[in-house]
């Protein structure tokens, strides 16, 4: 826990410092129309640096106790996190190649997760992975007209 406390407080100090830097660039004083843009961020970030420094010092003085997370705890957490990151990447990667769209990615993600983490039968896996995206499609695209990222499959179906 101690290491995690120190790292978190350190990151917060850094964040505060970056904000202070940008606030100074924007101007922290009094402009034509009242306080300049940087005024409030400067005050807030300044306080954030002070507060997180205090948290840092307190954590530093305390002896290290139990770890932030044991290996046994961390593995299931990563088993959730990594598939989510893959799911988002498959939906639409940050770079130029277009993704498969949210619905197809959701189907693949749900199927993969249920099969490899949950070990469910293929019938259950396929049923869920097909039904959920279709229901989501009907509810969001058709009823509430909220568009989601779409890929080649939807284009081929004419949406």
């Amino acid at each position: 826990m101690r290491a995690a406390e120190l790292v978190t407080a350190g990151v917060l100090m850094l964040l505060g410092g970056v904000v202070v830097y940008d606030a100074v660039r924007l101007g922290v004083g009094w402009g034509i129309e009242g306080p300049r843009s940087g005024f409030l961020p400067f005050c807030l970030a300044g306080l954030l640096v002070i507060v997180s420094a205090a948290i840092f010092v307190r954590a530093w003085r305390r002896p290290a106790t139990r770890p932030f997370a044991t290996r046994v705890q961390l593995v299931p957490v990563l088993k959730v996190l990594v598939p989510i990151a893959l799911f988002i990447t498959v939906t639409d990667p940050p770079g130029p190649p277009d993704g498969l769209g949210l619905y197809v990615a959701a189907a693949l993600y749900m199927a993969a997760y249920m099969r490899w983490v949950g070990g469910h039968r293929w019938l259950v896996v396929a049923g869920m992975a097909v039904t959920v995206p279709i229901v989501a499609f009907v509810v969001f695209e058709q009823w509430f007209l909220v568009p989601m990222p779409k890929g080649p499959l939807e284009a081929w179906l004419g949406y």
């Binding site: 978190t8 939906t91 749900m110």
Partner: protein
Amino acid sequence: MGLDNLFLGFQVAITPFNLFVAVVGVLLGTVIGVLPGLGGANGVAILLPLTFTMPPTSAIILLTSIYWGALFGGAITSVLFNIPGEPWSVATTFDGYPLARQGQSGQALTAAFTSSFVGAFFSIVLITFFAPILAEVALRFGPPEFFAIQLLTFSSFVGLGGGSPLKSAASILIGFVLASVGLDIVTGQLRLTFGFVDLMKGFDFIVAVIGLFGIGEILLSVEEGLRFRGARTGMNLTVVLDTWRRLPRYYRTFVRGSVIGFWMGFKPGGATPASFMSYAFAKRFSRHPERFGKGELEGIVAPETAAHAAGVAAMLPMITLGIPGSPTAAVMLGGLIIWGLQPGPMLFVDNPEFVWGLIASMYTGNVIGVLMVLTLVPLFAAILKIPFAILTPLIVVVCAIGSYAVHNSMIDIWYMLIFGIVGYVFKKLDYPLAPLVLALVLGDLSEDALRQSLIMSQGSPAIFFVRPIAGAITAVAVFFFALPLITPWWRRWRGGGGATPVAPGH
């Protein structure tokens, strides 16, 4: 005058469409309350984009109904599975789960739902009468008063929130800093974007709520290796009627819980302390305090009444002052802004049918809620039998859709994931999340109030102290901020005095 308005409100709330919306909302809300990783705040956040095309009154009825449902749903998991869905349901598990283990889960659930209803009803009646008065007073408030109230809101997290005051302060400051990212509408300058186009839009509170509370919660629960060992529901009409016959004898606990809940509830973060306080009082005044914790019905009545009274009371400052009393109310406040309504006392003047429709829908929503949970409990309990490996990806997909729908942008889904990791780390390190969300929602409003006040006073912060109302509120806020510094000193002083025997004749 108030009753006329309430009547107008009922005409809005009892239209077939709005009643249908309330039923759907309560149903969804209860499911959300029962599911691990989804709670009131992020349930409302995920569904907020769906309301953009609805009339504002129906939209707020949907969102508040989800909130009532989530409050009821929290009691189901507490009693049947010993898993408090929300922090204010923790005290309900003390006697709810033992009762369920003794095969009396039907009685426990009936008591929980009925107490929730009574607590909520008490708060709604008070809101009906106090909201117009408070709004009337607040109409005379200027920017300095509003800024002072916002200061008070955040000071109560630091001074009264429990946990580490430094971490509460850090959480508030992070929220405000995130809120200031992007275009400054007053000066037209870009803030904290460092040339990245994606940062120009800033951070949306909906995405933050979904990530912090939704994804973060899932990560925490898989780490703890969550397994559901449920008790049977055992609900039927005989059990309900039988329990109802036993409940009136706890009328003192009902009244005490409602009053504590309302009083604590309209201050931020009040529901959890209210539920514990009500439980402690009930135990203290009971003739059988030794039965508490082993399955005493009164031990369910007390926290549930207070928690629901507090949960409803959190709506009072939201509609009258534009200050949300809880993260869920904060998300709804963000909704008001998106629907083009100005939160605060002007609502009572400009949109009476919206405000009174909302207040009337609190009555209908809670009546619908208690009837639905009493009849449909087995259905809701069955949701928890769905294996975790199916629920997890389902919740993640719903969260991703909700995040994307806010601005139709992929970057928001990535933010959701990042906020999820932050939420997980912060929860483990005891940084409170509610103040962060509140600061993120209120960021722009607070900054406007601060700017306008400073322009009024030509830069002098004295304006927050010399105006009578603002001065009084600021003084209380400063006191709360100073409380963590004063308390140890005060304790030492008193402790020192108590430890050394007082000389006779002194």
